[in-house]
Symmetry: C2
Subunit: 296 residues, 2 copies
């Protein structure tokens, strides 16, 4: 079993590495200042860097040399950041604040935010294609997985379904489809590509895909639970907003106890999948608990 200190060290070290490398790659671009500043602004806004942390944890479940997994982790965080910038636009969710700071289009303007998102999305693929440590076969596999996960079949589909479901009731199955696309696909890429790069077998990869499936759902259920019962201080935002916005959530569909019990069920299934993948002693297990019990 991984002790709490080891997990925290891993998360902090990985976050630092990702933050530093993202800034370096963007700083080095010889591009219009306003575009660069706008890209850097959203990259610096930070956040939990959960997806790169998962990718690195999945990689290190079987392997130990970090260099090979870095460009996939950077591309993943760039694409996640682009999706936040576009989601916040007035045309989409029209959010003024993210993590307590003005959203990209509030800090710059709508046009710049559209372009900064487009640029981060495109640059993500370039970072993998230009990597110095991966073989061509590995690059192609990563780019195919990442474009599938983030494009019209994956994250963009989820965003579309989410917009269409706004303010109308959905079934539990429909809610899961939205989340599996909107956030689950990038989680799956993180887990799958990390393990792929470290040489996991096809059987292990199949188990890890199952694990990622449940991990994404655990993350989302806990998100919905925190919006009802979380501590506004720790969350950095008021609670109860989902209810006010008539958002479709697990708590709304199942009640608070029902959601908590569904989460426990998912945690057990995630453990089982890790066991199948011979990764039950890895950081991934501690990260499952961390996601399930997080208070922000």
């Amino acid at each position: 079993m991984i002790v709490q200190q080891e997990l925290n060290d891993f998360i902090n070290t990985t976050k630092q590495l990702i933050q530093q490398e993202l800034q370096k790659r963007l700083q080095n671009l010889d591009i219009p200042e306003r575009l660069k500043n706008s890209m850097l602004y959203s990259i610096r806004a930070g956040g939990k860097r959960m997806r790169p942390v998962l990718l690195m944890a999945s990689y290190e479940a079987y392997h130990h040399d970090r260099e090979k997994a870095l460009s996939a982790a950077l591309a993943l965080e760039m694409i996640h950041t682009y999706s936040l910038i576009h989601d916040d636009l007035p045309a989409m969710d029209d959010d003024d604040l993210r993590r307590g700071q003005p959203t990209n289009h509030k800090q710059y303007d709508d046009a710049t935010a559209v372009l900064a998102g487009d640029a981060l999305l495109t640059f993500g693929f370039e970072v993998i294609a230009a990597d110095a440590y991966l073989t061509s076969e590995e690059k192609v596999q990563l780019i195919q997985l990442l474009s599938e996960a983030s494009g019209p079949k994956g994250m963009v589909a989820g965003q579309m379904l989410d917009m269409e479901a706004e303010k109308k009731p959905v079934t539990l199955a429909e809610l899961e489809t939205i989340h599996l696309n909107k956030t689950g696909e990038l989680f799956r890429f993180a887990i799958h590509s990390g393990a792929y790069l470290s040489g996991a077998t096809a059987e292990q990869l199949a188990y890890l895909d199952q694990f990622a499936h449940y991990l994404g759902l655990i993350f989302q259920v806990q998100d919905d639970i925190l919006d009802v019962s979380g501590d506004p201080e720790k969350l950095g935002k008021p609670v109860g907003s989902d209810n006010e916005n008539e958002k479709n959530t697990y708590v709304r569909l199942l009640g608070l106890e029902g959601a908590a019990s569904m989460k426990q069920d998912y945690v057990q299934k995630a453990y089982d999948a890790l066991y199948g993948a011979n990764a039950e002693t890895s950081l991934l297990k501690s990260l499952t608990d961390y996601f399930s019990n997080r208070d922000h």
Copy 2:
């Protein structure tokens, strides 16, 4: 010398192939209906399919089997189409019509148009990564070239510079920088990647990059000339709009005659580059004349 009929046949056959394949690839996607319809709407709106035509012509200057160049041509047109959808948004150029039809966000809504653009951009990279005819090395090279050409160092930079230059006078050098990024980079990708796939040498590729440089400028100068002296019937839009919008154009900076003479100079330089690339008898030469003399 290629006769006019041969050129027209090549253009029409290529347009048909591209149109048909783009539709097929998008139709086959199992994605939310509204997202698919919105992507198809802009893909079907058509246009000259100039970039795929150039890519295919460049490929066939040295080689004859079309299959290998197809996915690069499709990705290129998808990325060009995404850029039009995002450029037309209210946050950007705020255009209601494109090629006589409602723009994507007018036909659907702003959110759908943002997502359709994001989806086409991402799917473009997937189409290359998943191609059945290319080696992994070729895929990586194409993806790197295309992401560089269309991302923050290329097309997105051009769009940013263009927005910043709006309604303030620019120098001829600044105008060229905008065009070389905004449209020139995708032209260069078309010419370069077609020749690369057909096995052109490094020396030939260097000459063809020069050729693409001038071809992009010829295209843009003619665009500016047509806006002043074109036939509104053939153009499908009123003339004189650049002047009304105080747009920076070659005609504004050099006068109509000055722009025409600069275009002739570029045509000669494009010919010279084709000669250096041993491609002076190819379709590319006819396409240069076609671009230079086009009336719409």
